[in-house]
């Protein structure tokens, strides 16, 4: 408990808290992010209607415009989609799915990337070469393409039923595999610098093994660059997921994400129901924008040179 108090006290006086207070973009985006998180977590409570409970749907209400447009009803504030689902509810669940996939894939790529980066940076030699060659091959295929291939191929390899259940997992793994290189390269760079620093040499002199030094001394020093990449790459992961779902390859249709909603909306774009695609689109952009805004601030705040 004491250390918690100590860290809290240290946080309040730290430059980080001070610069957070000073830059409006930072605390506004932080608040917006919290709001998004709240909406996603509390989706079942907030959503006026459960979009997956087919009984509650009324096909007659399908494709109704938002309340403020003539022909809209107050009951469906943002109108309804092609299957008569209330836009507000389906968007809340969509947000939840997008965030789930975004955060999960970021964490996975973080774990994979950081470990490989640490090993490559600290051990060096052949292992470093192998990892970096793999990173090169990976880089030749941009994130979207890698996710696409993995997702698409798993679709052809696995029988349809199995694919349905696993598709969520496949998407997360696909996006994670596409983004690990970023972490690996940065962590490798930072590790190579830190491992030659004298405080590591001092510990080597008392006979401590490489692995222990890696985790006791080097790891804490690579956390801030990793934190910055993680924040920025959540935005990227959400975008990748949305793109995959838009191309019809992402999360299963049974549990749509914002990307799926945008795709469904896009199919009816020409028959005039613009809100089905535009509203989820705006929600998505709002999410990614605030993540990037917060990430930019975090990078400058943690960057020793700019302090």
């Amino acid at each position: 408990m004491k250390t918690l108090m100590l860290t809290a006290r240290r946080w309040r006086h730290s430059d980080l808290a001070w610069s957070l207070g000073r830059s409006p973009e930072a605390w506004i985006s932080a608040l917006v992010l919290l709001a998004y998180l709240g909406m996603a977590v509390l989706a079942p409570l907030l959503a006026p209607q459960n979009p997956f409970d087919l009984a509650a749907l009324d096909l007659m209400d399908a494709r109704m415009p938002p309340a403020w447009v003539d022909g809209g009803q107050l009951k469906y504030l943002f109108g309804t989609d092609g299957q008569g689902r209330d836009m507000v509810s389906v968007m809340l669940y969509g947000l939840r799915m997008s965030l789930l996939v975004g955060v999960a894939s970021t964490l996975l790529s973080l774990v994979v990337g950081v470990t490989l980066g640490l090993v490559a940076g600290y051990v060096g030699g052949r292992i470093d070469n192998v990892i970096m060659r793999a990173a090169d091959v990976q880089l030749s295929f941009p994130a979207i393409l890698v996710a696409l291939l993995i997702d698409g191929l798993s679709r052809t390899v696995l029988p349809r039923a199995v694919h349905e259940q696993l598709s969520l997992l496949i998407v997360i793994v696909a996006i994670a595999l596409a983004n690990w290189v970023q972490y690996a390269r940065t962590v490798r760079g930072v590790t190579m610098i830190e491992k030659d620093k004298d405080y590591v040499n001092a510990v080597r002199l008392i006979g401590m093994g490489r692995a222990r030094i890696l985790f006791r001394h080097v790891l804490p020093n690579i956390l801030s660059p990793v934190l910055v990449i993680a924040t920025l790459s959540i935005g990227l992961a959400v975008l990748t997921e949305a793109t995959l779902s838009f191309l019809g390859l992402g999360v299963p249709a049974t549990s749509p994400s914002l990307g799926t909603l945008i795709r469904l909306g896009n199919e009816v774009l020409f028959s005039g129901e613009w809100w089905i695609t535009v509203l989820p689109g705006l929600l998505l952009v709002g999410l990614v924008l605030s993540v990037n805004l917060f990430g930019d601030w975090l990078r400058d705040a943690l960057n020793p040179r700019l302090k």
Binding site: R133, D136, V137, L139, S140, F141, P142, I144, L145, L148, L149, D151, G152, L153, R155, T156, V157, G235, L239, A242, T243, F246, L247, G248, L249, I262, N266, L269, F270, W274, T277, V278, G281, L284, V285, V288, L289, V291, N292, L293, D296
Partner: protein, 323 residues
């Protein structure tokens, strides 16, 4: 010195190509049983074996791989399941559309992104720079398919100025179908090119800006100022030249990824290029096309990578003339 550098790069490229060809070979053979596709689900066992023999699938793996590479080198990738046409012809017919789109988008991204980055780097405080920064933040936060949809909404549906899909009428120059020569070609090219370019454009702008500000803080710029050189020379002759060198490598890599981003843009605008082809191939499970596409992208990446390195070598004297 130059030769050793070149050989190093080529060796590196060869390694990447071999790895990718193995990947695409394994795709080819182990995924989606080609035999059943050609022979039909209910064929008898010996019919299957006959087909397997005809296709040479019963030979030892390395031999199959070598034959696969042999055929790939001559551009022979087998037959597309979906279009029942040789894969090479399918790809050749779609290539010009993607290359033209990517070219225009690349010119747009480089031509607009870098100068904006330079301006933002030189005048960090100006209002325009703040505006550019907000624009750039929005640029990387909006997925390209949303940009596409919004452009279609405004310019096709609402204003009806531009077609919302297809490539307009194209002119055949030998085997190359180009959209550059017709007005409708350009009109239909405009929106997809902007959509494709926007993401890269913001990336270049942000990159150039950070790099420019880094260089402006350097010691030799401070020394140039101490020598009373004109502001114009300090900014462009000294600072800009040192800024562009690192940008080249990243620009090269980004342009390579432009081809992949075209997948989304081509889907939104139904642009008949490789992007659309690969989407259809993936959802259909058309393995030969996927395998060929993989090899093509890897080749493109390796070529761009080597060209960028050579360019880097040519521009940066520190690499060229060793003491």
């Amino acid at each position: 010195m130059m030769l050793r550098f070149l050989l190093g790069r080529l060796a590196n490229a060869a390694v990447v190509m071999v790895l990718v060809s193995m990947l695409s070979f394994s795709l080819f053979n182990f995924i989606g049983d080609p035999v059943s596709n050609l022979v039909g689900e209910n064929a008898t066992v010996n019919e299957r074996d006959a087909m397997r023999h005809a296709l040479g699938l019963d030979q030892p793996l390395p031999l199959q791989y070598l034959k696969f590479v042999g055929r790939a080198v001559q551009g022979e990738f087998g037959v597309s399941y979906r279009n029942i046409e040789p894969v090479s012809r399918v790809i050749a017919s779609r290539l010009p559309a993607t290359l033209e789109l990517s070219l225009v988008a690349a010119v747009l991204a480089l031509g607009v992104g870098i100068p904006m980055g330079v301006y933002a780097g030189l005048k960090p405080r100006s209002l325009l720079t703040r505006g550019l920064q907000v624009l750039s933040l929005v640029g990387i936060s909006v997925p390209s398919f949303v940009t596409g949809i919004i452009l279609i909404l405004i310019f096709s549906i609402y204003l009806n100025w531009l077609p919302s899909f297809g490539r307009g009428d194209t002119v055949m120059l030998g085997a190359w179908s180009t959209g550059f020569l017709s007005a409708s070609g350009w009109k239909s090219l405009l929106m997809p090119a902007v959509t494709l370019a926007l993401f890269q454009l913001t990336l270049f702008m942000r990159l150039t800006r950070t790099q420019m500000m880094e260089v402006l803080r350097s010691e030799y710029i401070k020394f140039a100022r101490a020598r009373g050189l004109r502001e114009r020379s300090i900014n462009y002759r000294h600072a800009l030249r040192n800024t562009l060198i690192p940008i080249i490598t990243v620009a090269g890599l980004q342009l390579g990824s432009m081809i992949a981003f075209s997948i989304i843009t081509e889907t939104v605008f139904q642009w008949p290029g490789l992007g659309l082809l690969i989407i259809q191939a993936i959802s259909f499970g058309d393995v030969p096309v996927i395998a060929a596409y993989l090899l093509l992208i890897a080749l493109l990446f390796v070529v761009i990578n080597t060209v960028v390195d050579l360019l880097y070598f040519a521009v940066d004297p520190r690499l060229r003339a060793q003491r």
